[in-house]
Symmetry: C2
Subunit: 137 residues, 2 copies
DNA sequence: TATTGTTATACTCTATAACTATA
DNA sequence: TATAGTTATAGAGTATAACAATA
């Protein structure tokens, strides 16, 4: 019945992202993490002492929406804040944060490879550059 | 700063869908239509006299969430309902609905070609089959 | 018994405006 | 003047449970 929709890349993008997103959300749930929180941990590991605003810009999350995310990460002891100056604060993974990050990486790695496995081999290598071209530039 | 995320197909999928979705939403807004409403019009044109539940199954929209969508489409005169039996109702595009569908098709066509145009030519043909493989099957 | 349409509701995600304090 | 962090809030989108009526 939805045959015509199958020829629309935009619709396929919507449905694929929705399906993949739901799957990743359910895999992260046992860690008590949302997708956004998990990406914050990833970025903090590679970019220690960055600010909340900078994180938000990199992840396309509004400053105001970073507040509850970071609040939960701090309350659960995964992230610590240290004042840089009177205005900014440096965010860092705690020891526990690095431990949980290890679990996150396992989940993300298997999620990503399962995702790629669903794609026919002849198309597989084209997906990442194609998708990145859509939202970057 | 988000360099590592660029190697994750799942993250690219999320960001690409978000960017493309926002763009389509803003292009449909002048018609007073959401993406979901627009897809309903598309399906109704090809499948006249289908029920709300069947539409919802095809579009992966819960029965309960179809109610306000169809209510608005009926109130704005784009869709009509006709009882099939005491339980179901046949949905159909009205004359005005078919007119608006013409506008929707123009917008969707240019949206889809603009989307494909962002993708480097060598990857372009692989996107649709790859994305459909992710959520179908 | 299963399905249709519906209501009510809650939860998440996101967007906006405003405020304080600081650079 | 611009930026950082924050609060409050509103709007989507989505999920669940329940119900009456009908197949």
């Amino acid at each position: 019945m939805d045959q015509q929709l199958l020829s629309l890349p935009g619709y396929a993008l919507r449905r694929a992202a929705s399906a993949a997103g739901a799957e990743l959300t359910s895999r992260l749930a046992p860690l008590g993490l949302k997708q956004a929180s998990a990406t914050i941990l990833l970025l903090l590991d590679a970019n220690p002492c960055v600010t909340a605003s900078a994180l938000g810009r990199a992840l396309d999350i509004q400053r105001a929406n970073m507040v509850p995310l970071l609040k939960q990460l701090e309350e659960t002891g995964l992230v610590s804040r240290t004042p840089i100056d009177g205005k900014s604060q440096a965010l860092e993974l705690t020891h526990k944060g690095r431990e949980i990050l290890g679990e996150v990486l396992k989940i993300v790695d298997s999620f990503e490879s399962d995702l790629l496995a669903r794609i026919p081999a002849e198309h597989r290598a084209h997906v990442l550059p194609a998708l990145n071209a859509i939202w970057r530039d």
